[in-house]
Symmetry: C2
Subunit: 225 residues, 2 copies
Amino acid sequence: MSDEETETLAGTVAEVKEVGAGQIIVRQGVSLSECNLLVAGMVCRYKDLHGGQRQILELHLAGDFVDLHSFPLKRLEHNIRSLTRVRIAIVPHDRLKRVTEEHPHLARLLWFSTLLDAAIHREWILSIGRRSALGRVAHLLCELFVRMDVIGAVHDGRYPLPITQMDLADATGLTAVHVNRMLKKLRDDKLLTFRNGEVSVHDWDGLSRVADFDPAYLYLERRPR
Amino acid sequence: MSDEETETLAGTVAEVKEVGAGQIIVRQGVSLSECNLLVAGMVCRYKDLHGGQRQILELHLAGDFVDLHSFPLKRLEHNIRSLTRVRIAIVPHDRLKRVTEEHPHLARLLWFSTLLDAAIHREWILSIGRRSALGRVAHLLCELFVRMDVIGAVHDGRYPLPITQMDLADATGLTAVHVNRMLKKLRDDKLLTFRNGEVSVHDWDGLSRVADFDPAYLYLERRPR
DNA sequence: CGATAAATTGAGGCGCATCAAAGAACGTGG
DNA sequence: CCACGTTCTTTGATGCGCCTCAATTTATCG
């Protein structure tokens, strides 16, 4: 994104607000007229079954345009909830409409951003469908390592992860008890430690191997305009 | 989509070709300069782990713009394979670029179409992560019923599904053996029959209940321009 | 510092996988 | 149109990975 485009996008922000941890930011089925750009903190998208089972669909970090897809979709079929205290920039749909019509390249970048979410969804389908419990946990923590690294949140192989093991369970399709056992195994195998809201990677190559991790799906390479 | 927009989009087609069953249409990682619009037949997107386990990510029916997301993404991180003999319309990226710049509303419709895929991905994450094996199979067959109905392929509660039980297994994160048992149970419970490449739904309400199916994620309602 | 939520560990059970083999459907060529 | 190989479906027997239930320890927060 060019500096000019960054400025154009920044100009669409109508308001910046703070929300506490554990708050529902967008509720499924509600008609929407604005999007939420996550400035600081962490949120998740999730869905529940009637039986009460919860599945987290994606984890979002600072910089993510959490519900940009509500612009074309008009409503969401899932909920969005803050995992920590968060700062959110509000972008009205009508401003997005104007900006995307006047700036085709920026429009494609925004489109790209929603497609990146879809690519992450697909990797999660693979993960939950075919990876072992250990592989699933390892893979998720690999993904977050790379995404945290992109936003400069990794230092000395460590990054903050202020969520519970139950959240990890809901993201991987496991139970909190089993996630705990898998984390113990990763720790015992000297691959990584997750403690006090921080992930510390000790052996990236070993971890990637267990996770069968390939960052290609995160589309990190520089792209032509 | 207006008649004029339909015509505009039709004008972007450079070529229509036929491909046999079981052919790879797009290979992961390859740089792309055109998209494939499925005119007839059925294709799937899938990914493999190094261990050889396969996961199908989405099933596509006639009318689906199978890899429209390659337009902004430039390459795909998964494969696309024909499940049956298919007819495909080829749309070059440069024509899409021109059309989307000149027709903002059509651009949003195309964006919407890729977001619908993402919504389907999310429902699959929920399905594979939290539904029972029976629920997963039932839910997938519910989804296909509704999508087949949209394209007018459902007659007397029946629709064609020319794929194998192994394909169903790869789509639901199960084994072919267990899918077979779940199909038997659905049959014994008089909910549906899947035989000779055709699904016959006997009890939609019962099936929906077992699947915990809610078609909201398919965004079927009419939307404002 | 007390209350509450989260992490940890153990014991036991179930759902789905794995392995195996027979039967049915399908495609292909004679 | 039938013979035949191949793929797909079906069913049974067995095992394991993850879930469930439960209790204790540790962290978090007002």
